[in-house]
């Protein structure tokens, strides 16, 4: 009987035997129950077998994975995986706010920074277009002459001696290939720099033109002593193509950031004024214009004449040149300002720098 059940469930009975057995099952409920139980237990057992096999397989896979993975995750890593997103957001927010703050502070500080003290050297960058135009016009008028190159920078300079020594600011002639000077009367000479004092921003130039025959008698003298506060001073210079007069007073006996080698003067100055002479009412040269303070009204600076004289006295020691014979007689004392300027203007030159 037992064997029959087994064969029935395994499906190895032939058709006749099978139908007979099924008929028997119908009539005998006990047999039917036994068959049922047998089926269940077989199923359960097979399930059990399969499940066990699967478990072993999974365990193998797992241990295989474990060995590949080199140890288990440490606690901090679990924590990190769990909170990485939040931390990422927090970090980016804080970074953003830090840099945002820095940036906006920078923005707010920017205009302030512009107002902080800054020294501006008054050398003029020549308007290229205008120069080019005049060159073209000249070219049309005078076709066989080579078109002159426009000057790159310009400043002001003035005569030291009647035999062709001049002075200007050394930042004007900085990096120059060649230097030309020209005055209101149209005299035009080629000069070269013979000596410079970078510390006091002064340069001595000498005219080397063969056509040069001397300036004639210089009308001003050089003041050795320091000038007093409030003294009326004036200058002539070339902040543009034409000569420009500027007047004011000596407002401080020290210059930019307490520089004692310079005066502060209240003359409106512009790029191109650098190297101009600063004279007092009696026609004494008291200084050389050098610069102004950016963003500050009426604060211009001039190197004191004492340092110019010191430079001149150094000249024969430092170079092979013979000592300079400075003018001794002042022709400007006691005459009106326009008369002074008329005498003066031929000795003030525009310094054109080519490079």
């Amino acid at each position: 009987m037992y064997e029959q059940i087994e064969r029935y469930l395994a499906g190895s009975m032939d058709a006749d035997e099978r139908s007979a057995f099924e008929a028997l099952m119908h009539t005998d409920p006990r047999l039917a129950k036994q068959v049922q139980e047998h089926r269940v237990i077989l199923q359960a057992m097979q399930q059990y077998g399969k499940r066990n096999a699967l478990r072993t397989q999974l365990n193998n896979i797992h241990s295989d994975m474990e060995t590949n993975r080199s140890g288990k995750q440490p606690a901090w890593k679990v924590f990190w995986n769990r909170n990485a997103q939040t931390m990422g957001v927090a970090a980016s927010v804080s970074l953003l706010s830090v840099f945002g703050t820095l940036w906006s502070v920078q923005q707010m500080k920017a205009p302030v920074q512009q107002q902080t003290v800054r020294y501006v050297e008054l050398r003029r960058e020549v308007d290229k277009l205008k120069k080019a135009q005049t060159a073209i016009i000249k070219g049309i008028n005078n076709t066989n002459k080579a078109v002159p190159r426009p000057a790159r920078f310009s400043g002001t300079g003035f005569a030291l001696t009647s035999d062709g020594y001049m002075v200007t600011s050394s930042h004007v002639v900085e990096g120059a290939d060649s230097i030309m000077v020209e005055n209101k009367a149209g005299q035009k000479y080629k000069v070269h720099e013979v000596y410079r004092d970078q510390a006091h921003d002064l340069s001595i130039l000498k005219i080397e033109d063969p056509a040069f025959e001397g300036f004639g008698k210089l009308p001003y003298t050089f003041k050795t002593a320091e000038s007093d506060l409030g003294e009326k001073v004036y200058t002539l210079g070339y902040p543009r193509e034409d000569i420009v007069f500027g007047e004011g007073s000596l407002s401080s006996s020290s210059g930019f950031e307490g520089d004692t080698t310079a005066y502060q003067i209240s003359i409106p100055l512009n790029p191109g004024n650098s190297g101009g002479p600063l004279l007092d009412d009696k026609g004494n040269l008291v200084g050389v214009i050098s610069g102004k303070q950016a963003g500050q009204e009426g604060a211009a600076f001039a190197i004191k004449s004492a340092y110019l004289l010191q430079l001149i006295s150094e000249l024969p020691l430092a170079t092979t040149l013979s000592p300079l014979s400075l003018p001794q007689k002042n022709a400007l004392t006691g005459i009106s300002r326009p008369q002074q300027l008329k005498k003066l203007r031929d000795f003030v030159f525009v310094v054109k720098v080519y490079n």
């Binding site: 269940v40 237990i41 057992m45």
Partner: protein, 193 residues
């Protein structure tokens, strides 16, 4: 291991269906970190993660073998949902009733798959108990015959019976005992039959 073969879910399912161990291994390794993360970040340990995950994989595997799986989502989501449910149950058993999981993935509700799995699991547990109670050599004999499907001849030789009739007789006795133990504890539900 050829990774490229099992890049899509379909390939993995097809692989498992035709009994490819590498497909199963690939899938197992691919999704374990996700479940492990779920369990570790919800008061679980590594071992618990392993158990839960394996149970989840078994559910999935058996469904595929039965051809009863209607997968409307990725394998990943399915496994996550199953494991999530199993873990919730486990937590409830451990007495943590106020359970709210930190979820990192989407999940399905799975109203049917898990209960059915539990029923299977119950049967499986009973069978294991019964088998253990049965003792040797009955256990090995039954396993060899019914699970490893060895022939009566091989069994006769292996267990040193004089002839296959003795073996059959022995097997019959063992089966009777197993039935007795098994059915005293396990009441089959109608759904199983």
């Amino acid at each position: 291991m050829k990774r490229g073969l099992y890049e899509t879910d379909e390939a993995v399912i097809a692989g498992i269906r035709c009994g490819d161990d590498r497909a199963l291994a690939h899938m197992y390794k691919l999704h374990f970190p996700m479940v492990s993360h779920l369990i570790l970040s919800n008061n679980g340990t590594d071992d618990e993660a392993k158990d839960i995950y394996q149970e989840g994989v078994i559910v999935f595997y058996e469904k595929i073998k039965d051809n009863s799986l209607e997968l409307s989502c990725q394998i990943k989501t399915y496994l996550y949902s199953v494991c999530r449910r199993l873990w919730l149950k486990k937590l409830a058993e451990k007495g943590r009733f106020a359970v709210k999981l930190d979820d990192a993935e989407n999940y399905l509700m799975l109203e049917e798959d898990v209960p059915q799995h539990e029923e299977n699991e119950r049967q499986f547990g009973q069978m294991e108990v019964a088998m253990n109670q049965l003792g040797e050599p009955c256990r090995s004999l039954l396993e060899d015959y019914y699970i490893r499907t060895q022939s009566m001849q091989e069994i006769t030789e292996r267990f040193g019976y004089t002839n296959s009739d003795t073996a059959k007789n022995q097997k019959y006795k063992c089966l009777q005992r197993l039935k007795k133990i098994f059915f005293t504890n396990y009441k089959p539900e109608d759904t199983l039959l």
